[in-house]
Amino acid sequence: MSELRRVLEGLPGVDQVGLEGRAAALSTRSIKAASKAYAIDLAIRMVDLTTLEGADTPGKVRSLAAKAVRPDPSDPGCPSAAAVCVYPDMVKIAKDALGDAPVNVASVATAFPSGRSSLAIKLADTRDAVAAGADEIDMVIDRGAFLAGDLDRVHDEIVAVKDACARPDGTHAHLKVILETGELATYDNVRRASWLAMLAGGDFIKTSTGKIQPAATLPVTLLMLQAVRDFRDAHGRQVGVKPAGGIRTSKDAIKYLVVVNEVAGPDWLDPDWFRFGASSLLNDLLMQRQKLTTGHYSGPDHVTID
């Protein structure tokens, strides 16, 4: 048995009912008034505004970039999103559209979403995106290898992709490691995969591609937050968390922030350490923001549809 496998299988188990019960209990937190305004702005700043479609065009990506920079054209006080998240071939377009704006470009890579390709292709995919200017790489792990027990292979691939994130100037693109928790099936696997990704050097762990159901859930995110908390206690390095897919409402986003606050702690309540991979969520956050600002409920025609 490999050393890595020993480490991962030595992690405490996860009781499904207890974990889900804890997530449900935290969902009953009631966030009002100033706290809610703070949470909504924070959530906007954490959004990786995403388009990952076969039908993506330069026009679509440009309008998405504009939306990320100025989510609410009617309110200059509205913060920007954290990043736009696109396929590698759209990185340059996104980068050009964003210019100097304080919004990152994240690119999925490594034969997203299935990851079913050779390592050489995955590394080329990554280098391509980095060369095109990606600030962040969202890679997928090889779930097949993970489920087959070939944990070293999964680990070594992440290490290799991390190397591929290096830029000529010695910096490297931030690496988010997508676990695709919906395919890992059990919470025990999610905890092991989280640790595996962190041990391999991932800067972020991310729940899902958004192409598989279930995508992000509150319990799975809670579990990954426990993992980054415990990993920092054990290794002294802080790793970020990104739930992606299925988070559509402000109410949901606030529940996630409560979980971040109470499980990992305030250190993670920052776009550097927590992101939402989402598209429609942003508009709901904006409508809620308008409600808080104006005192009236907003409607879909008062937010932009990019």
Partner: protein
């Protein structure tokens, strides 16, 4: 000229052995007409204490045996009772003043009663246990477990059928017993002790004290290592004993009118069991 018979002085049955009463006292057991039958040991409080120690010591092993094994051991006791049929019949006839025919019927009923209870060993949990349909993702199971050490005041009148009707339901579920016999009619209980001693029943599971429940009872009722009291034969002492038992919150079965020939219910078994409910989440 008739033969001078060998008069017997019987001892107590504690922890699988036959000690004299620590007090050294004996008393005369008489037949229904007042004629001498034998000398019986008169148990003291210290004998009660020793019996509780023996019963506690036996509890762990006895309660941990498989129900099937307990059932087999008790059934084996029934076989041996049957083997001593003649002796029991004579003793019951003498002590209870019955004809041999009547006494024989009592002995038959006693053996049958023992067999009936023996069969419950591996069934009670199915009848009084439950899989509980709770409203959540939990496995939830209730099952009866033995209460522990049970002090039993055996009936004063029914010296064999009543006796087995109070002992068998206590021990079949895994309890151990300290039995204070009928004071006036101890002989069948003494013979039962001899049967138990030569059976496969581990020492200490049933401890038999001949003597006066009014004397030994209070020490048992207040003994902190006794978990329950069966006051069936406690007579006038019952209320005081129940009050004594309140201090340790012992389970108490009050005396009530009994028809020993009637088919028993489950209550003598369930009174001396505890329902344990175990919860566990259901998840992957």
């Amino acid at each position: 000229m008739s033969r001078v018979d060998v008069r017997k002085t019987y001892k107590l049955y504690v922890g699988g052995a036959f000690p004299r009463s620590e007090s050294g006292r004996t008393y005369e057991a008489l037949d229904a007409k007042g004629a001498f039958l034998a000398n019986a040991s008169q148990a003291s409080r210290k004998d009660g204490r020793d019996a509780v120690v023996a019963a506690r010591k036996a509890f762990g092993g006895w309660s941990a045996r498989t129900p099937y094994n307990r059932g087999q051991i008790l059934y084996r006791v029934a076989e041996m009772l049957e083997g001593r049929r003649e002796q029991f019949t004579s003793e019951v006839a003498a002590t209870e003043g019955l004809t041999r025919t009547q006494a024989g019927r009592v002995v038959d009923a006693a053996v049958d009663r023992w067999v009936w209870y023996a069969g419950w060993a591996d069934k009670l949990a199915q009848v009084v246990g439950n899989a509980n349909p709770v409203s959540g993702p939990y496995f939830n199971l209730s099952s009866p477990e033995p209460t522990g050490v049970v002090a039993v005041a055996a009936p004063q009148d029914s010296s064999l059928l009543g006796l087995v009707s109070v002992i068998a339901p206590v021990v079949v579920t895994g309890n151990t017993a300290v039995v204070v016999t009928s004071f006036g009619r101890p002989l069948p209980a003494i013979t039962l002790s001899e049967v138990l001693a030569t059976s496969d029943l581990p020492g200490g599971v049933v401890n038999v004290l001949t003597g006066d429940v009014a004397e030994v009872g209070p020490w048992l009722a207040t003994h902190r290592d006794v978990d329950a009291l069966d006051l069936t034969g406690a007579g006038d002492a019952a209320t005081d004993l129940e009050r004594d038992a309140a201090e340790g919150l012992k389970r108490v079965r009050r005396p009530r009118s009994e028809d020993w020939t009637a088919q028993p219910g489950l209550d003598r078994m369930t009174t001396f069991t505890e329902t344990k409910t175990v919860w566990h989440p259901i998840g992957v």
